[in-house]
Amino acid sequence: MGGYILKRLISAVPVLLGITVIVFAIMALIPGDPATAILGSYATPENVARLNRELGLDRPLVSQYFIWLGNLVQGDFGRSFALNRPVLDEVLERFSATLVLAGAAFVLCALLGIAAGVVSAARQYGAADKAITVAVILGISVPSFFLGMMMILVFAVRLRWLPVSGMYEIYGGGDLRDLLRHLAMPALALSVVATGVIARLTRAAMLEVLRQDFIRTARAKGVGEGRVIWGHALRAAMVSVIPVLGIQAGFVLSGAVYIEIVFQWPGIGRMLVDAILKRDILLVQGGVVFVAACYVFFNILVDVAQSVLDPRIRT
């Protein structure tokens, strides 16, 4: 087990390196001169040139890359010029807000999606199955930012049940209740697509498993139908559901960008969009590398979970 985890961690190193190369290359392609962006369009050419030298932007790209990478490895992500604070501080703060949102959405979509998929498979071609199938189709077809806006219109503006946006009340908020009230809509809006995908996959996996011989064995033993479905069958189906959960976690993390903008959630997606629009290159690079690295580690975690769940993989 330990060896397996170690092997996976080592194999992540080239992937992470590749990610830094891609991020760096794309950002190098972005038109617009960071020094001009920092100093404003009225800066004199001399000032721009001096700042470029200070930032190391006059060196060849390759050496720029290695300096940047060297700093990254030491935990130095540089400084955001637009925010005038260390990139890592900003990234960590924003990422924790995203984690709250994406984490809540992920828990929702995993629970709802699996439950809906199991019920759908257990009642194949029945009324519940049809209703779930239609709901799933709607769920995976709706643009999440649009769904978010509609939710705001209905639940916040019309019904006034929930706050329109943000993570906490500006005055007097800050406790868990406040957070949950702000979290409810964005987390739900963010989870809808993934719920649909997971439900549909769980259904397919369950139907596949329910035809297996060991299900017949369980029935021949006299195991009740509830236990056959939610125990024996779901346990086996999870082997193919878990990787999808991993992929969907990535999609939820990505989709958070839209939701963060719609609901003014102070997460890293919104930060990155702002940073890209402002040409805040170090912030973009640092943020993307950080998120991608988290994503890679999360995938390793999924694989490890998979091998715990399926003893056949380990050998």
Binding site: I26, I137, L138, S141, L207, G255, A292, T315
Partner: protein, 601 residues
């Protein structure tokens, strides 16, 4: 193709999707011809008109532009962009996938490493970064969305290409000296193309969503009410594409076509008009059992009226070729025939006089494994792969008896010892895949014994094992049976096995019993020509697999049984009389269904 369209037309959701999509596409194609306001003309005087205002059926936006016109032109553009992005991503991705899959080795390795790396990115960040590098604009959003999706296509198509690249026709092309380019174009691409097209069409909706998302991010926030209608439009388009795509995929899936993806229910469906009168003693009495498989319009009569009884402590062999209906007979007893497609259409199965076919599910469940237990053929497939064998045994006990977890676990270990598994404590913690085939089957037997049933139905329990292990398992079963007074219904295709274990034997052919009697008598003087052939070609115990080839001809398909004797086409003695009318299973104790039996029963 006809079949495909017919299947597609049966899927109501897909038809609905196709209709909605069709209407949208037609409207969108006609847009330039419609009398619409110019979508880009701004007019400050007409800002924020409500819907249904004069000249603006959907109102206007914050710049006073006509919303209906913008909606239709925008839809036209979205569809075009989604389509283009799918085609671009699909073509490039498929190209990469085909090359990686066809050449394999190092090329494959390098390409797939790159693909993995791209897939490790949260895709929106990648798309955003690309848009940032290229500048805003729909064209660039299109490129970004297409680029982000290339790895998905590459990975999918690679998998399919790998499968094709090792088929015979590709090898043949290679041996005939065709170049790589020619093989790729003439052998691989035509085979991959349908998959690529389907993948493209099912991802168009996805592409539209992503492009819409990117333009949303680029535009920043707008007053929400102006986006209600476009949002609904996107939802409609994407939904109809998804519905149609699902329908297409389902209609192309051969497993769905055959109904093989239906989930078997908890107990076999019963659809019988009359219940035969109770008759005869015996612990278990199968009486005129009929079981069919209903696959679409076709009907397979797997069991066509089988009667068989089992006395306490008796071992009866049910022997026949595969497809003779012997396993279906065995599974019908406890309602374990997969259903759909299986249906029990007649007869009765009585356990001490109680009819099991008509029994409610709850009653059936309480008897399963408690009084009637099964041992199945391939224990690797029939044991749950992810539960420890000890837990599987303990569960068998706990579903019928309210005993503590510890007591059940202890009993599980005892059961493993009873079936002569060495070191049972350790083995109880093993997973099925960690045991040898023989050990696994011992576990299967232990599971059947868990609740000390009166009857065990063993469905070819030794077929998957090698000869020595087979002999061990058979002698174990024989010992257990004598120690515990078990009645066994033993399903097999091997007369050698029957001879070693069974008191009586019934021979099945094409869903019916053709001969029945005491094992010694049947073995010494078989009455049915079919039985005689079977016995004649059993060389030794466990060698029974060879006899299939030794009888000329094949058993008839059970959906097209000939009239008269089903064995007539393969029988040397067949004449016209054999091919007409019903032939009865005649005799008492020693029974045979033949007009010209080898010996008089």
């Amino acid at each position: 193709m006809r079949l495909f369209l017919k299947l597609l037309a049966r899927n109501r959701l897909a038809v609905f999707g196709a209709a909605v999509l069709g209407v949208i596409v037609i409207v969108v194609l006609l847009v330039p011809l419609l009398p619409l306001a110019d979508p880009d003309v701004t007019s400050t005087g007409d800002r924020f008109q409500r819907p249904f205002s004069a000249g603006h059926p959907l109102g206007t936006d914050h710049l006073g532009r006509d919303l209906l016109s913008r909606l239709l032109w925008g839809t036209r553009l979205s569809l075009a962009v989604g389509f283009a992005a799918a085609v671009i991503a699909g073509t490039i991705g498929a190209g990469i996938g085909v090359i990686a899959g066809y050449f394999g080795g190092r090329v494959d390795n390098v390409i797939m490493r790159g693909v993995d790396m791209l897939m490790a990115f949260p895709y929106i960040l990648l798309a955003l970064a690309i848009v940032a590098a290229l500048g805003p604009g729909l064209m660039n959003a299109l490129i970004a969305v297409a680029a982000v999706n290339v790895p998905f296509f590459a990975r999918n198509i690679r998998g399919i290409t790998v499968g094709i690249a090792h088929r015979e026709f590709v090898d043949a092309a290679r041996l005939s000296g065709m170049g790589h380019g020619r093989i790729l174009l003439s052998e691989i691409v035509p085979n991959v193309l349908p998959v690529v097209v389907i993948a493209m069409s099912t991802t168009i909706g996805w592409m539209i969503l992503e492009t819409a998302g990117l333009s949303f991010l680029g535009l920043g926030s707008q007053p929400p009410h102006t986006s209600v209608v476009p949002g609904v439009m996107i939802l409609l388009i994407v939904m109809s594409i998804n519905l149609l795509g699902d329908g297409v995929r389902d209609a192309l899936d051969p497993r769905l076509r055959s109904g093989a993806l239906s989930r078997p229910m908890a107990a076999t469906l019963v659809d019988r008009d009359t219940v035969p009168d109770a008759q005869g003693p015996g612990l278990l009495a199968i009486d005129g059992l009929r079981t069919e498989f209903r696959v679409g319009p076709r009907l397979y009569k797997a069991v066509g009226g089988v009667s068989l009884s089992l006395a306490p402590g008796e071992c009866v062999g049910l022997i026949g070729e595969s497809g003779s209906g012997k396993s279906v007979t065995a599974l019908s007893v406890m309602g374990l025939v997969a259903s759909p497609p299986g249906v029990i259409t007649g007869g009765a199965v009585r356990l001490e006089g109680e009819d099991l076919i008509g029994a409610p599910y709850a009653r059936l469940r309480s008897l399963r494994g408690d009084r009637v237990a099964y041992i199945f053929q391939d224990p690797l497939a029939t044991l749950h792969p992810l539960y420890r064998v000890g837990d599987q045994l303990a569960e068998a006990i706990r579903v019928h008896h309210a005993v503590s977890r510890e007591a059940a676990a202890a009993r599980a270990v005892k059961l493993l010892a009873d079936v002569r598994i060495p070191n049972p404590e350790a083995r109880a913690r093993a997973f099925p895949h960690e045991l040898s085939g023989g050990m696994r089957q011992r576990v299967g037997i232990a599971m059947a014994l868990a609740n000390e049933p009166e009857i065990i139905i063993a469905d070819e329990p030794t077929t998957a094992l090698d000869v020595t292990v087979q002999a061990q398992i058979l002698s174990l079963l024989d010992d257990l049976r004598r120690e515990r007074g078990l009645a066994i219904l033993f399903i097999t295709h091997d007369f050698g096995v029957v001879g070693q274990l069974c008191d009586r034997v019934a021979v099945m052919y094409a869903g019916r019993i053709v001969e029945e009697g005491r094992t010694e008598e049947v073995l010494a003087s078989p009455a049915h020509p079919y039985t005689k052939r079977l016995i004649a070609c059993v060389p030794e115990l466990g060698g029974g697999r060879r006899w299939l080839e030794a009888i000329p001809g094949l058993p008839p398909a059970v959906d097209s049984l000939p009239e008269g004797c089903a064995f007539a086409p393969r029988c040397a003695k067949a004449d016209d009389a054999c091919r007409t009318g019903e032939i009865a299973l005649a005799g008492d104790g020693r029974k045979v269904r033949c007009l010209k039996p080898e010996v008089v029963a």
